[in-house]
């Protein structure tokens, strides 16, 4: 044992190597420490929300507030379902988000295919106009769109949250960029076999577009699920509310403001979102970086 240690120390080359490694490890750790502490700030509010959702009302006024509640009581969760039709909010959100996402997948891929692959008069001008529209804040169009939606009879209707979002310039742009990278040979081969444009779109282009479509679906899902401003303007009855607006409605009920019931509702909101995040994390990250790189 002793001899081996002595031998070990006498090997200066190894010693240098080890010292070097140790220093690299230390440098890494010093660098990582503030970042890890910062990441705790990201998690802490969520952990607190969960722990308070199980807490009892009297616990909120005792100091120190218990980080782990005295008992895992579900009273607050019952409280949510007693006060509002939370399931209805959830189903409305699922319905609206599902429709918007499916509609965008279809319309954006169609538009992207046409802009990338088909020649027709006015193509460039229309596309430039589309892109320019991304610069205009939605509040400029707010009041006229409000009037149009009312005119369509969609006021206080889930359709008001779907129809204006059935397509997007961003998605069209994303798919156009992708379709431009597909080699001409594939399309030509299909043409020789007598395929029409609809068939080329459906049989050749769409099957290849899995990755960008997934990216678009996830980004659309996320933004539609979290949309608050639109429901705030167009929805005024509780049974038509989606989750974000439903949360504000719940807060307005008796004794809910800043209570465990509200925290329980928040946790109920977080669960599907975090599941969604864990499943699609890679695609989501790809989507964000892709849209970032496209702009840069």
């Amino acid at each position: 044992m002793m001899t081996s240690v002595v031998l070990w120390y006498s090997d200066t080359e190894l010693q240098d190597k080890l010292r070097h490694r140790w220093r690299a490890w230390l440098a890494n750790a010093v660098l990582a420490l503030p970042l890890v502490l910062g990441s705790l700030i990201m998690f802490l509010p969520l952990v607190w929300a969960v722990s308070f959702s199980f807490g009892q009302p009297h616990e909120f006024f005792t100091l120190p507030p218990p980080v782990i509640p005295s008992a895992f009581r579900l009273d607050n969760y019952h409280g949510v379902f007693e006060r509002v039709d939370f399931l209805r909010f959830f189903l409305n959100s699922v319905f609206v988000t599902g429709c918007v996402t499916i509609a965008q997948l279809i319309t954006c891929s169609m538009g992207g295919y046409a802009f990338a692959r088909l020649r027709f008069p006015g193509r460039r001008i229309i596309f430039i106009l589309f892109l320019a529209s991304m610069m205009v804040p939605q509040h400029v169009t707010l009041i006229p769109v409000f009037i149009i939606i009312r005119g369509m009879g969609l006021y206080n209707n889930l359709g008001a949250l779907i129809v204006p979002y059935a397509t997007s310039v961003f998605g069209t742009f994303l798919l156009k960029q992708f379709f431009e990278t597909i080699p001409n040979e594939l399309e030509d081969a299909a043409k020789i076999d007598g395929a029409g444009f609809l068939q080329i779109y459906w049989r050749v282009m769409l099957p290849l577009a899995g990755p960008p479509l997934a990216t678009l679906a996830i980004l659309t899902f996320n933004s539609s699920w979290n949309n608050f401003f639109w429901p705030l303007i167009f929805i005024n009855s509780a049974e038509k509310m989606t989750l974000p607006l439903g949360m504000i409605y719940l807060r307005g009920q008796d004794g809910v403001t800043n209570s465990g019931v509200l925290m329980a509702a928040i946790v109920l909101n977080l669960i599907p979102v975090l599941i969604f995040f864990l499943i699609f994390q890679r695609r989501l990250v790809e989507g964000v970086t892709l849209s970032g790189l496209k702009g840069a």
């Binding site: 990201m42 020649r119 400029v140 397509t167 069209t172 029409g196 979290n226 925290m263 790189l293």
Partner: protein
């Protein structure tokens, strides 16, 4: 014109060739020419036209939506700012009166100031901190830690602003809030997070940074991965230290991401609404009231549609001017490889 001419030549040629027996060489020649003409015309007719028709068909949904929900509303939104309209009676044309009124409206100027300050601090926090977090994450050697940190900072981005605001409203209560409790344990006095006007503003900025920093971190991480490693290797050979590598390679090559982030962050920040609406409702006083909040109240609370529309127009031109300025200035400091 051309179409009918080609068609006629083709038809006569064909008729000619079928009528006369195939013996005559001239007729044969004419027939071949005619057939070619027909064929090429048919090709033009079918493919070009069909392609154009298909093109319009495929963009139809997007184009319709663009017209109905963007182009027409934008034009009428701009027009509406020139009217006095309460939604129920006929609109009155008032010229630029709405804009003159805005320039003297103390509340509007306050909201404009709040919005600009919010945009300034939130952008600085999100983009500045996001960049340094990304550089930090990128230089960590352990990939598992990099993956963890990226995920951790990004999680709040997927949570809706409403939920985030409600959650912080609970945690940041002055006397019973858990944040203040732990701060007091550290010997820091209770902070009136949401009840004093200066702190309410700061809290809103902090919450915004909490929610969005992961997004900007991701954009910078993507930018960092695009920097070729040969540059660092070459710098190492030349004996460049950590700091030199950071200031001479990393930061210059990150400027495109920085430029993009600044534009995105400013456009978003000028339209901020939700967190204030949920958390402070513009208060205390008007300390956290933004332009969009005022616009929302004027349009859907007081039904001053024309006045609200003119605010949107002002907001639009501010965003447009800022973006154009940034793009102009960008030529000077953004480094494109």
């Amino acid at each position: 014109m051309q179409y009918s001419a080609v068609r006629r030549i083709a038809q006569t040629g064909e008729r000619f060739s079928t009528l006369t027996s195939v013996r005559s060489p001239k007729a044969q020649e004419a027939a071949i020419l005619a057939r070619q003409a027909t064929a090429s015309w048919n090709w033009v007719n079918s493919l070009r036209a069909r392609e154009a028709i298909a093109g319009y068909f495929f963009i139809l949904p997007t184009l319709l939506s663009f017209l109905v929900f963007f182009l027409i509303p934008t034009i009428s939104g701009l027009g509406m700012s020139l009217f006095d309209w309460d939604f129920f009676s006929d609109p009155d044309y008032v010229g630029l009166d709405n804009f003159i009124e805005l320039s003297q409206d103390k509340l509007f100027l306050t909201t404009l100031k709040n919005t600009a300050l919010f945009a300034l601090f939130a952008t600085a926090g999100n983009v500045g901190l996001g960049m340094f977090i990304a550089i930090g994450i990128n230089s960590i050697k352990w990939s598992w830690l990099r993956a963890y940190l990226r995920t951790a900072y990004f999680i709040p981005f997927v949570i809706s602003t409403v939920v985030v605001a409600l959650m912080f409203g609970f945690l940041l209560q002055e006397s019973t809030g858990v944040v203040n409790y732990y701060l007091s344990r550290l010997g820091i006095q209770r902070i009136p997070w949401l009840s004093s006007s200066t702190w309410a503003f700061r809290s809103i900025v902090l919450i915004d940074v909490w929610k969005h920093i992961g997004f900007f971190t991701l954009i910078f991480l993507a930018g960092l991965q695009a920097i070729p490693s040969e540059l660092y290797e070459a710098a190492l050979v030349d004996g460049a230290g950590r700091r030199v590598r950071l200031t001479r390679i990393t930061i210059p090559l990150l400027t495109p991401s920085l430029f993009f982030s600044l534009i995105i962050a400013l456009i978003g920040a000028f339209q901020v609404f939700e967190s204030m609406y949920v958390l402070t409702n513009g208060g205390p006083g008007d300390a956290t009231r933004t332009v969009v909040m005022y616009l929302y109240r004027e349009a859907f609370g007081s039904f001053n549609m024309g006045y609200a529309a003119s605010m949107a127009v002002v907001l639009f031109f501010i965003i447009l001017a800022l973006t154009i300025t940034q793009v102009r200035l960008g030529d000077r400091w953004v480094f494109y490889r």
